[in-house]
Symmetry: C2
């Protein structure tokens, strides 16, 4: 079994009003050292092992569903989970 | 300057209908090996150095704003960014 962590954020060129609103809120709470905030999506998937390479499957899932590749970029981290006894 | 990556997900006891809907969609796209999907929030913050411990500030920001601690748990990763020349 694999544990796959996917993060999806806006491309640099895309405005992120939610991120800015969160930054403003943090400033009002007194966190003046915050320079910028980006808000994105986080997915945690558990995927059974198969003969298909896992990274290839994950990239495909991101391209086809988890990210809007016109506006977003994605990154992922794959770790093998110990078999449950 | 610090780069802080925060992931926020639902607590185990909380239903995640969006995660289930995404899992269904992945199954329909043919990704039968996916066992579960959790959908959460991802924040990337850039925070200037100050005399206050960075981890303490980040935990506070999560508790006060970035996560709803009644329903969500959070995790964060802090890396020091090279000073821009």
């Amino acid at each position: 079994m694999y544990l796959v962590k996917v993060t999806v954020t806006y491309k640099e060129s895309i405005l992120d009003p939610k991120g800015e609103a969160i930054n403003d809120a943090l400033q009002r709470l007194g966190y003046r050292d915050v320079q910028s905030v980006e808000l994105g999506k986080y997915f945690e998937l558990r995927i059974a092992k198969s003969d298909r390479p896992i990274a290839e499957q994950v990239a495909e899932m991101c391209d086809r569903l988890l990210a809007n590749v016109n506006m977003e970029t994605y990154d992922y981290e794959i770790t093998e989970m110990e078999a449950q006894s």
